[in-house]
């Protein structure tokens, strides 16, 4: 037990001598804690920003979370690399099926749609993205990415911080928008409600069908009951801002929903359904600065091949349909897509035809008028750290590039430090 003794914090019959406290749930806690007395400015929830006069103010960033830890090496494949080939005998795709980008890298066979975007110069690959002292825990690593903090310390998500203060000073209900019934921590804030929507048909408030005439007074009373819930009481901020954010967003979303007709047929899966909903908010001019959608299932510990194939097909086909739809609706110039995943996988396969938790993994950036191609240094498979890749690009450099160059937000301030930006936005954009 000698190795443990440094952690023993109990002495003298259970007297606690260390006051150090592990602190899970701080985000939750902050969200539910007090502070509402500061007063909420209701004027910020009024009308969408329909007539911005500046190019950047019209822009939207779509963030795609590939949850579970995507196997980067089998996504952007270094198909000539001997170390890759030796370590991936059971999970690698056949060379005659992969989509070669050049003499060094190829996309997974399922990614024909995204290969098309690459060929048109509309897609960049950022290589080797990670952070120092990588965590192999899904949850800690996701927290780090979602808070843009190397220790996962924050009381709000990085995207919430971005939309609430820096790209949307006027504020309105749709500055941020999560497709799906769950709000990702990246969009969580204690006092700024961001809608999470899974099904627009259900996104309305029901009344007593027998007494339509009572609906108004019942809802009016409900609003006042929420306003009169004490500001410092438990969960006051989240409950009040959720109620407010909901009631202020229903009508606008319903209008956008009625007006929208997709220009292409989307795949039927839930990822594509989420993308379609995001397209609806964009074509409806709801003023979405940051839209968010998740595709889950990348934690491929066993029998990876089929699962990974299905997921990348869904990713690529969904994004292709989304991009074609936006292009046909004349909106694609104002939209950028950024993918991310909490980590890649170990270089060597495990014994179950799968891969265990690893480190650096690539990100995809999609936009019109961008400088497509490879960004960041590719990982060196010969230079491993206990079987893991060494990252080459800090994820906060990617964040800084999109915040600064795409949305015109002060990245240094939001990230709390200066990170070098990457060149994928080219000369046509402020860098």
């Amino acid at each position: 037990m000698s190795m443990l003794s440094r952690r023993i914090f109990i002495q003298d019959g259970f007297k606690v001598v260390s006051l150090g406290l592990a602190m899970p749930h701080i985000l939750t806690r902050a969200v539910q804690a007090a502070g509402a007395e500061a007063g909420r400015d209701l004027s910020v929830f009024q009308s969408p920003d329909n007539a911005p006069n500046d190019q950047m103010a019209k822009r939207t960033l779509i963030v795609v979370q590939m949850a579970g830890g995507n196997d980067g090496l089998n996504t952007v494949i270094p198909f000539n690399d001997d170390v890759y080939l030796q370590n991936r005998k059971n999970t690698a795709s056949p060379e005659d099926q992969i989509h070669k980008l050049d003499d060094r890298f190829a996309l997974h066979p399922a990614m024909g749609g995204m290969k098309g975007l690459w060929d048109q110069g509309k897609m960049s690959i950022v290589h080797g993205v990670g952070y120092p002292q990588p965590s192999f825990s899904h949850f800690r690593s996701m927290d780090i990415w979602q808070t843009a903090n190397p220790e996962g310390k924050a009381d709000e998500g990085w995207l919430a911080k971005l939309v609430k203060g820096s790209v949307d000073r006027r504020g309105h209900p749709f500055a941020g928008f999560a497709a799906g019934g769950t709000l990702p921590p990246a969009l969580m804030s204690p006092d700024y409600p961001i809608p999470a929507v899974s099904n627009v048909d259900n996104y309305k408030i029901l009344a007593d069908p027998r007494y339509a005439q009572d609906a108004g007074s019942r809802q009016d009373a409900l609003v006042k009951l929420y306003q009169n819930y004490p500001g410092g009481a438990p969960f006051a901020q989240v409950l009040q801002s959720t109620e407010e954010g909901t009631l202020s967003s229903i009508d606008l979303l319903q209008q956008a929903h009625k007006a929208y007709t997709p220009a292409v047929e989307y795949p039927k899966d839930s990822f594509a359904t989420g993308l379609k909903l995001l397209a609806e908010t964009i074509t409806g001019n709801l003023g979405v600065k940051v839209g968010y959608v998740t595709i889950g299932g990348f934690d491929t510990h066993s029998n990876q091949r089929n699962q990974h194939q299905r997921l990348l097909q869904s990713l690529s086909d969904g994004l292709k349909a989304f991009w074609d739809d936006l292009s046909a609706q004349g909106k694609a110039d104002d939209v950028m897509i950024m993918t991310w995943s909490e980590f890649g996988r170990r270089v060597a396969e495990n014994g179950s035809n799968g891969t265990d938790h690893g480190t650096a993994t690539p990100q995809f950036i999609i936009a019109n008028n961008m400088k497509g191609g490879h960004w960041g240094d590719p990982v060196n498979l010969k230079d491993q750290d206990k079987g893991n890749l060494k990252y080459t690009t800090d994820f906060r450099s990617v964040y800084a590039t999109v915040m600064d160059g795409w949305l015109g937000a002060p990245a240094d301030k939001l990230l709390g430090a200066r990170f070098p930006t990457l060149g994928f936005l080219g000369n046509g954009h402020a860098m």
């Binding site: 037990m1 190795m3 443990l4 440094r6 952690r7 914090f9 109990i10 259970f14 606690v16 260390s18 406290l21 899970p24 701080i26 985000l27 939750t28 902050a30 969200v31 539910q32 804690a33 007090a34 192999f136 825990s137 899904h138 927290d143 220790e151 996962g152 999560a178 769950t182 990702p184 999470a196 929507v197 899974s198 259900n202 309305k204 408030i205 029901l206 007593d208 007074s217 009951l225 009169n228 004490p230 410092g232 009481a233 438990p234 969960f235 409950l239 959720t242 954010g245 909901t246 998740t294 889950g296 299932g297 990348f298 491929t300 066993s302 495990n350 014994g351 179950s352 938790h357 206990k386």
Partner: protein, 504 residues
């Protein structure tokens, strides 16, 4: 980790702030509470609080019955549930002839258990284990009986239902026993790939989540790491060969077990899986971790070490006796403190079931499981291996809408083959509520301990009085009177939609 990862992975769990941030947020939450949020004073309010936490809420009669036992008697009744006859619930469930191989029926079945059980802590602890030692139907699946099977044919193994039964049978068992059992549980073996964990080809999925999420956490109370990456890899070796046989039962495959020496937490030995669990039970952080998880499940988030210490001491002195730990929590002063009162967000299951109990619904819960899913909780299929993040994450625009809309559906039922309408008129009659103020006060007391701001009460009274629908003195109330059918119904909707009712 589940390969399903079906929904957004959203656990704010490890978002750690410094001690200062924690203290200030907790202090702010406690210090700024107004008079309406004072500590629990009456025995009745303590028992009501206990029934919300140890169970899923109460009807008026259920509350009265427990109040009559006194707080200590009520705790005894809840914890010693083995002696409580639950035959009535079992009969009701059998009468519904649900197909537990059907995913929707399976979820309804559990919601109905929560609603009608007389042993609420049994179901609540099962929910605790389900959210701690997670497996889900998304990956485990439910093998369907053959379409042409005769009624006498053996049914396919129902892994997730068997796991539920294991949790129920071990609801208050020793932690080590639970861990050794769950490590052999076929649903878990499938969910975290133990089946694929073989000698020379370790799969570390189970070993990692066992330490990170089930028993230790990444760091101990002093912030120091509880284990290393090497510990995870070595523990995975110790569990090699723990798999399933062709009958889908647990089987130890000696040929696939790595018998070599492993080093775990600094200890060397030819460890197997049970040895890993013994090492975990002896690890200084396991008692802290379980005490904290139980405390956060029943009482409130981020307890101080001094509050937890009696619960940890029970873990230490009893070798992880969960029954004693839970007992200690329910007897703890802090469990009834201002910091605990309304400090828990009701999960969707708790919101639905507390509503059903309070309204004394006679329901078969048709579509209730769909509503729970839209609120963010699919029973038997948590979003990922970390379980439901809970707390503030139960609330977003979609889930809040589903809460108030499901409430609206339930409260406006006037004729329905699945759910009998709530007998609001009967409640008004039985309690002799002969004025708007009395109706408001009665339901505020029943549903919210009467603990609301005077302004909120005034709003509710105005709502009921609006339109002047109350009969003149001497005129008897009838069920169909608009004051009942419209206003009392609207009143109960409003109270159950209030922020306070979303909290337990």
């Amino acid at each position: 980790m589940s390969t399903t990862f079906a929904k957004v992975i959203s656990r704010a769990g490890i978002i750690a702030a410094g001690l200062g941030a924690l203290r200030s947020s907790v202090a702010a939450a406690a210090g700024s509470r107004s008079g309406a949020q004072t500590a629990l004073l009456s025995e009745r309010d303590k028992v009501a609080h206990l029934l919300r936490r140890a169970g899923f809420g109460y009807s008026q009669a259920q509350l009265d019955e427990h109040v009559a036992l006194g707080l200590n008697g009520a705790i005894d009744r809840l914890v010693n549930f083995g002696s409580v006859n639950n035959a009535e619930m079992e009969q009701r469930l059998q009468g519904l002839k649900l197909n537990l191989y059907n995913n929707n029926d399976l979820q309804r079945w559990w919601l109905l258990r929560m609603t009608y059980t007389k042993r609420p802590l049994e179901e609540k602890m099962t929910l605790f284990w389900h959210g701690l030692l997670v497996s889900g139907t998304g990956k485990v699946g439910i093998t369907q009986p053959k379409a042409d099977a005769a009624p006498t044919d053996p049914k396919p193994v129902h892994h997730i239902l068997n796991q539920f039964s294991f949790f129920q049978q071990h609801a208050l068992a020793d932690f080590g026993t639970v861990l050794k059992g769950i490590s052999r549980d076929p649903a878990m073996v499938i969910y975290l790939d133990s089946n694929a964990n073989r000698k020379g080809k370790p799969n570390e999925n189970y070993a990692r989540e066992l330490m990170e999420l089930f028993t230790l956490g990444i760091a101990g109370p002093d912030g120091a790491p509880n284990y290393t990456e090497q510990d995870v890899r070595e523990a995975a070796r110790a569990f090699t060969g723990w798999g399933l046989n062709t009958q889908q039962q647990f089987a130890f495959n000696a040929g696939q077990h790595d018998t070599g020496e492993k080093t775990i937490f600094g200890n060397k030995g030819k460890f197997n899986g049970d040895d890993v669990i013994n090492l975990i039970m002896a690890h200084p952080s396991s008692g802290y971790y379980l005490a904290k998880r139980l405390w956060e499940f029943f009482a409130y988030d981020s307890p101080s070490l001094s509050v937890l210490s009696p619960v940890m001491e029970v873990f230490r002195s009893t070798g992880g006796n969960v029954k004693e730990m839970v007992w200690t929590i329910f007897k703890h002063d802090a469990f009834y403190s201002e910091l605990a009162y309304r400090a828990k967000a009701k999960s969707p299951a708790e919101y639905l079931v507390s509503m059903s109990r309070a309204l004394e619904l006679d329901t078969n819960a048709t579509n209730f499981q769909g509503s729970a899913q839209r609120m963010g909780q699919q029973l038997f299929n948590p979003p990922n291996v970390a379980g439901w993040p809970g707390g503030a994450q139960w609330f977003n625009t979609t889930t809040w809408l589903e809460r108030v809309n499901q409430l609206n559906r339930v409260i406006t039922i006037r004729k329905d083959t699945n759910t009998q309408p709530a007998d609001l008129f009967g409640m008004v009659q039985r309690n002799k509520l002969d004025a708007p103020e009395k109706v408001v006060d009665h339901f505020l007391k029943l549903l919210l301990d009467g603990q609301v701001r005077p302004q909120q009460r005034d709003l509710l009274v105005s709502y009921v009085k609006e339109g002047d629908l109350w009969p003149k003195p001497g005129v008897a109330l009838k069920a169909a009177d608009p004051i009942i059918d419209r206003k009392v119904r609207g009143l109960v909707y409003l109270i159950m939609a209030m922020p306070e009712y979303h909290l337990a």
